[in-house]
């Protein structure tokens, strides 16, 4: 039996590469100074979706919400095997917290329906909240299974998956439609297929085409762009107005570099250190 799967992927700044120059004077992050990447765990979610499609048939739709430049992750999803992609972009969606984001994504997933399985990454590396998946499941009124590493079986409208929590490994069954959040314990994402790269490298959103002075893309080459009206979102629940949490203050972590006590790597040096640690009751 074929299954329609929607994957939610986010474009994130590569937080591993944050260096001093990526921080602005006021302590906020200069996103422009960081490379934007496909959120790592979302790649695992996409891979899991593609494998389900290969086993059971069906379709994979990849959605992302973000600025026009986020179309980049959708092209990447096409290279890796997504059948259909769409970008949700709208100024009124800016400054959404996880509650507003999950609301907007729930409208987008509903707009992309039908779906049997929704796959999210466990968490995005810019905020590390892991909240959007469960909140999206609640808004779609479907069950959630978090920390998934493998799909063991799907039979009719029952899915059996493996998940890992603080208490160990579980195999659980959930009725479809259901939302899974996928971790990096899942099978390694495949590389983009050369043929697909050649085919889809010219896939573009209308905004990208316009910026490059190209005619509006058509058919397979069109990256659909949806705004909040397209997906029927209630503006009051989006962006700043729909976000109960606010950032009050941001401080960058500045390495103190205040200088440390340099201990020589000799027996005398180390004995001196041990003596000091015993004297101040740190050890002993």
């Amino acid at each position: 039996m074929p299954y329609d799967i929607v994957v939610l992927a986010k474009q994130v700044p590569d937080t591993k590469r944050v260096t001093g120059d990526a921080m602005k004077e006021d302590g906020t992050v200069n996103r422009a100074a960081l490379p934007a990447i496909f959120n790592p765990e979302d790649l695992y979610a996409l891979e899991l979706a593609i494998e389900v499609k290969e086993r059971f048939g069906g379709s994979v739709t990849c959605l992302t919400m973000g600025p026009v430049s986020a179309a980049e992750v959708l092209r990447e999803a096409l290279y890796r095997g997504a059948d259909r992609v769409a970008l949700i972009t709208d100024r009124r969606a800016a400054a959404s917290d996880t509650l507003a984001t999950s609301y907007i994504l729930s409208c987008a997933v509903t707009h992309a329906a039908p779906y049997d399985i929704v796959c999210c990454g466990r968490q995005a590396i810019d905020g590390d909240t892991a909240q959007v998946g469960p909140q999206l499941a609640q808004k779609l009124s479907i069950p959630q299974v978090t920390y998934v590493s493998d799909v063991e079986e799907i039979a009719g409208s029952l899915i059996r998956v493996r998940r890992h929590t603080d208490y160990g490994m579980q195999v659980v069954e959930a009725p479809l439609p259901a939302l899974l959040t996928v971790t990096d314990k899942a099978p390694e994402p495949r590389y983009p297929a050369m043929k697909r790269v050649m085919k889809y490298k010219k896939a573009m959103s209308p905004a990208e085409a316009e910026a490059r002075g190209l005619p509006s893309p058509m058919g397979d080459m069109l990256i659909e762009t949806w705004d909040l009206d397209t997906i029927g979102a209630d503006i009051e629940r989006c962006g700043m107005a729909g976000s109960p949490t606010k950032v009050k203050r941001i401080q960058s972590i500045v390495l103190t570099g205040s200088g440390y006590h340099e201990v020589q790597p000799t027996q005398e040096g180390i004995e001196g250190l041990v003596h000091e640690l015993i004297e101040d009751h740190t050890i002993g």
Partner: protein, 344 residues
Amino acid sequence: MDSKTTNRKGDVWVFVEAVQGRIAEVSLELLGKGRELADTLGVPLAAMLIGRGVEGLCRALFSHGADKVYLSEHDMLSRYETHAYTAAAVGLIRRYSPQVVVYGATSMGRDLAPRIASTLRAGLTADCTDLEIGDHEEPVSREVHKDLLLQIRPAFGGNIIATIVNPWGWPQMATVREGVMKMPESNGSREGEIVRFSPELSAQDAIVRVVEEVPAERRVNLKAARVIVAGGAGVGSRDNFKLVFDLANVLGAEVGASRAAVDKGYIDKGHQVGQTGTTVRPALYIALGISGQVQHRAGMSDAARILAVNSDPNAPIFSIAHYGITGDINEVVPMMIRAIRKRV
């Protein structure tokens, strides 16, 4: 809008993670922090206890600081299931309108809290490392909200610390990392009130069924350790990790590790310190062959003393170290063991 109303007289609540008759340590740690918050606000501190046959746990909750326990028991709650627990928790929160609800940022807390928040359309901040009470002024309207929960958390891979507030969409909710709040002293003579509430659950509420389970091995108790000796990729092999264990043994310390050491299979994941491992605050943290990337530092930079041993004098770990030894751990660690043995 209903969710924009706030109940400033509401209690401070702690969600109790209870599995197989055991309360997770983070829940008790949160009672310690919750006590401070409730005292600052001048309201009671309550524990939200959901399960079946869990009433016996109330004593421990009172002795760790709770004034009340909101107890929701039902046959369908005998083990954790997201949807049934959400229904039970939402029932309690709607009925008693707490102003603050906090959860451990465990795999359970981070599965449950967002589902509850979305149902209530309430704000939720993930993975906080500190909580305070304070005022907040809206930047544009200049409206002042008094006594909000200030939710402090690292973001952007640990490169920034953000303070989040939740002026509307109450209760103000947050998940809090394990091991960052101090465990309160237990006082067995403290008593409290049990408020029973029967949840309205239907069969559809417990919809995900566990068909097989393999429990994790006992977790390493890094959080309680006074001294931690941690090894990184620089240790070089699983066999060579014996060096780390040897030093830990002479110091009576626990063994920690970087994610790279775990990924390379030198040691089990339970030992991992950092953003995706355990957050620790020992009196002494000895980092052996650990470069000190931000994700590792996020879990250990609050140690009272940090001793780094690394062959690379420019390793970032030195920038937060109190003591540094530039050298090869294969030479330095045996010297350290000898020096400690000599003293005791």
